[in-house]
Assembly symmetry: C2
Homo-oligomer: 382 residues x 2
């Protein structure tokens, strides 16, 4: 029996487990891990987990593991008006994060997600399972205290964005009183900005100020609507109106990227490159400073297209070569030649990049080309 | 000459200025302000500004105004490789916020925007003009120090998300050394989560972990693509596949709202309600728990439609009654009757709400209907 089957369920208590793993060179190591960079190590872990192996966690602790804190036996929370959907087996081990806001809570959620990105390596194999619970519109002390009490019962971590200073203070005190670890996400930065600007914060959550929605807001709405109408080269004659033009073969992420950029206020047009069809003439007539080419690794593209074809119910009996490797390579080479003929278009390799990352690259280049600075930046005036 | 014309430019130094203002009751007060709630007060300010009046700022200080810090005469930054685009006249007065990240910087930008929401009341009339400058991908100390030096020159406030602990430490020390006020947005929350989970953060920015993109990420991409194809009731037969169905008359914000929700991972279908045309039969066949009605104040809707018609070049000579008040009211009443006949559909009034706020309401209701809890929440498992 492999050694890991003798060990308790990895979900409950992280174990130092020996594993058998094939590394890239084909050699097997029965214990420990090959001497590799931390990044490659993490990649191995993810790959190992996906192939069903257990992990050696010894490298992930910068200090000796602390003794596990005593786990309070938590009763399953059952309310008079219905059951809470919790997996009973995991109640003792899933760590909860309560995200509380007197506004929408999206800022706090964004911060929590970003911070959790630092723990991807153990989230990916459920070594440190986490549940987040977002409570928005919590604008009175009674609701706030009820949530804090629940957080205390569940042993949750409490993250909050409470614009109202009295609510923020109440949250801080209640958490301290009931031993709930907490972080105020916006308080410190708001106070610092107040000091920098020399004015006081309003103390009102988003939407409660009574001020009309800003011009910038309506500009972003307009950009989203423009971009949706433009999607997939629908109106080539409107390329001139776009702020940014994305071009690339199918499944290089043009659509989700264009939407992401649109939500930041940029009108985006997509122009697909199709082998044998080419691109609209108008693409060569727009200001090259706003055109960005997208490319991707052919193996990854083939994989994406196969998945897509399956979802769309397209058969793989040769009637469509959309995801065939030869076709994929040819189409990418065709796009490559087009990009080479238009050297002013930056070409971004989106392989393995999340949309948010590609967007950051596009916008950094976009702004750098508009306003030359020693250090590229995205500037905005309020 | 009105008294405010005797006062210096409001951009440079906030002044206590008497103003003449019509309040809601029609009476005029020559100095000070009517006794109104803080929210209504802020609304008056915004309205006053838009009608060209100066503001009485005395209520916005919780303590006597500090003497203005000495303004260092800043030379216009001119680089060998080009000019920086700064309005010379404003260099002395616009406050800068530098947003620095070794990743994309979107989290820090989101936090800064949220915090600046607390200062809308003085941003809206440029009483405290602010420029933000986002530097993403700053992953080495040299670039970091160069930016910090520039921040010191400009008297900027420095906000950072630096996953690499040595970079974060370098930023903190450099800012302290050069007297640059700074805030670490993610450090505190990351440390707190690390303590809560009992594991160490990876210290790697987004995208550098080498881990493959998560299933949740691909789910969000799929949701965006689904939602774009669905936009404007294009495929009523696919309503069943959607997680959320939005319905309402034209210009109630269905499109931008559906995209916002899609980016959070929800497949959204939009079904427009049109007077005289009705809605597809399939709308009544889907699970009512996922249908949400949108409504809006008729005056506001008329205004939005007029602006839209102008943008689209539609004439206002009677050939289209799209933005005529009678038509607007009739169409809203038609929608209202439809909603009344389907009482299981929650109806959300979007008047004056930003998309993010409406989204928070929709999702709170959506999750509450799926999993009954004492306190409505949006829960997610990692």
């Amino acid at each position: 029996m492999p050694i890991w089957q003798l060990c308790p369920n990895i979900h409950s208590v992280p174990q130092i487990v020996a594993c058998t793993r094939n590394d890239k060179t084909g050699s097997k190591s029965v214990s420990g891990r090959p001497k590799v960079s931390p990044q490659l190590n993490r990649w191995f872990r993810a790959r190992a987990v996906r192939s069903g192996q257990k992990l050696d966690r010894s490298s992930l602790r910068t200090q000796p593991p602390e003794p596990n804190p005593p786990v309070r036996p938590l009763p399953l929370p059952v309310d008079p008006d219905g059951a809470v959907n919790l997996d009973g087996a995991d109640v003792m081990t899933v760590k909860s994060i309560y995200i509380v806001s007197d506004g929408t809570g999206w800022t706090a959620e964004h911060c929590v997600n970003a911070a959790l990105g630092q723990f991807d390596y153990c989230l990916v194999d459920r070594g440190c399972p986490v549940s987040t619970h977002l409570f928005s519109g919590i604008d009175d002390a009674e609701k706030l205290l009820e949530i804090t009490k629940q957080a205390a019962k569940e042993g949750a971590f409490f993250v909050y964005t409470l614009a109202d200073p009295s609510l923020a203070s109440a949250a801080k005190q209640a958490c301290k009183l009931w031993g709930v670890p907490s972080t105020d996400v916006l308080g410190p930065i708001t106070e610092a900005i107040a000091s920098h600007l020399g004015v006081s914060p309003s103390g009102l959550p988003r939407g409660a100020s009574g001020l009309p929605l800003s011009d910038d807001y309506f500009r972003r709405i307009e950009a989203v609507e423009f971009t949706i109408k433009q999607d997939d080269g629908a109106c080539p004659q409107n390329l001139a109106e776009a702020d940014i033009v994305l071009t690339g073969v199918s499944r290089t992420g043009k659509t989700p990227l264009s939407i992401y950029l649109a939500q930041k206020g940029y009108k985006v047009a997509n122009v697909p490159i199709v082998l044998g069809v080419g691109v609209p003439r108008t693409l060569f007539e727009v200001d090259p400073k706003k055109v960005f080419g997208l490319t991707i690794n052919p193996l990854v593209l083939q994989n994406i297209r196969r998945t897509r074809a399956k979802t769309m119910g397209l058969s793989s009996d040769g009637r469509s070569n959309y995801s065939e490797m030869n076709y994929v390579r040819e189409e990418l080479e065709f796009a490559g030649r087009l990009f080479a003929q238009n050297p002013l278009w930056p070409v971004i390799d989106v392989t393995g990049k999340a949309i948010e990352e590609t967007a950051a690259v596009v916008l950094r280049l976009y702004h750098d080309r508009k306003h030359i600075c020693t250090m590229p930046r995205i500037s905005k005036r309020y």
